[in-house]
């Protein structure tokens, strides 16, 4: 038997497969591709979830800015509406009756001399304050028109909030004249600031700067996370290619 003849005959032979043979093979390959892509899709989903969590939680972890109700209130720019300035309660609290109520009976005699001296000084200062333009005081009050409408002592609150470093303790034990003097001092400081920069609100400016800084920090964090996701995607694509 001549083997070479058989070999040549068989090597030249071609048997055409069925018409749907490629379809069968193609479907099988598609199924395998889908199966191999599943874990990668799972990983991508997990990565996206981590990214979203990171974007929402991480900035709050790094941010140490305490957001006070005042801040929230100041974010909304309310239209400037003139409200009547009520100074009566402030002056009412200066009356001797209220002094009697607040100062204890025992300490009254001891503090009598000091009170007289302080009262004279305070009266002088108050007179100076009275001379100050009402419009500047109105500006302070207009910072929170709603509050001013509700509470009669808005002016005091407004002053205290605008200059937190001169917060006045309101305990009944504090000598009243001393409190008045401190209040006047604070009022003067605020008036001075207002006079220096009538158009710039320092609290607002500080808040805006804080927002800018926070936004920058958020952007940096977001960029880092997006870079990470991009790298993850590239690796996943490379993995898909390798699997195929």
């Amino acid at each position: 038997m001549k083997l070479n003849n058989i070999k040549d005959k068989f090597n030249d032979r071609e048997i055409q497969p069925g018409a749907d043979s490629w379809e069968k093979l193609s479907q099988r390959l598609d199924r395998t591709d889908a199966q191999s892509k599943k874990p990668i899709l799972l990983w991508l989903t997990a990565a996206a979830a981590v990214l979203v969590l990171g974007l929402t939680t991480v900035p709050s972890l790094f941010s140490h800015t305490d957001v006070t109700p005042l801040d929230r209130q100041m974010v909304i720019e309310t239209p400037e509406v003139e409200t009547p300035l009520r100074r009566e309660p402030y002056f009412e609290s200066n009356s001797p009756e209220s002094v009697k109520e607040t100062v204890p009976e025992v300490a009254r005699e001891k503090e009598a001399i000091a009170t007289v001296e302080n009262t004279t000084k305070a009266t002088q200062k108050t007179a100076e304050t009275k001379k100050a333009p009402i419009s500047s005081i109105q500006d302070i009050a207009l910072e929170q028109p709603e509050k001013a409408a509700v509470h009669p002592t808005t002016l005091q609150t407004g002053v205290a909030q605008a200059a937190p470093e001169v917060l006045v303790p309101t305990e009944p034990q504090t000598p009243f004249n001393e409190a008045n003097a401190l209040l006047d001092k604070a009022l003067k400081q605020v008036q001075g600031k207002e006079a220096m920069a009538t158009t710039i609100n320092p609290t607002k400016l500080l808040r805006e700067t804080e927002w800018d800084l926070e936004a920058q920090r958020h952007n940096r964090l977001e960029n880092t996370l997006l870079d990470g996701l991009g790298r993850l995607k590239r690796e996943a694509v490379a993995l898909i290619d390798r699997n195929q």
């Binding site: 038997m1 058989i6 068989f10 090597n11 055409q16 043979s21 490629w22 390959l29």
Partner: protein, 188 residues
Amino acid sequence: MKVIQLYTNEKKLIEKAAAGDRKAQRRLYDKHAGKMLSVCRQYISPIETAEELMLNGFFKVFTKLDTFQHEGSFEGWVRRIMIRECLNSLRKKDLFKWSQEIEEERLEDEVPDESEEDLPLHLIQECIDRLPDGYKSVFVMFAIDGLKHREIATMLDISENTSKTQFRKARLMLQEQLIELKKKRHEA
């Protein structure tokens, strides 16, 4: 020049197919499916089973195409995958029965050549199909696919001498069948 171009084209096609390009895979399939089904048919009958094994083989080809190093011919690489697929199928069905080894001296005896040139290929195929699976596999691997006895022994997990024995016995049996077939044809 033309040969180099063809080689480059096939290389590009293989690279695309390895990257999962379905069109490139289709072109490679269309190019080699006919020959590979013929290879599978040499080992396996009926043709439907052979086609099934060929599809299995192509599935392995496309899923492991990135391991092809372009060192030998692509067709040779695919052919070996097909042969392995067929042998695995026969092994699973436990169809290999190896006959007793023949002594070395007797292996050298030449079997007288009997011309079968006038016989059509499908008749020769029928005669090969009638051989026991062990004989048939070794005969096809050696006589048609051109593998050496050492390679056959490794692939079938048998000794080299067993491979030679199987081939010799297969050849004798096939020759008897062909002579008988010829006689029948002459009588007819």
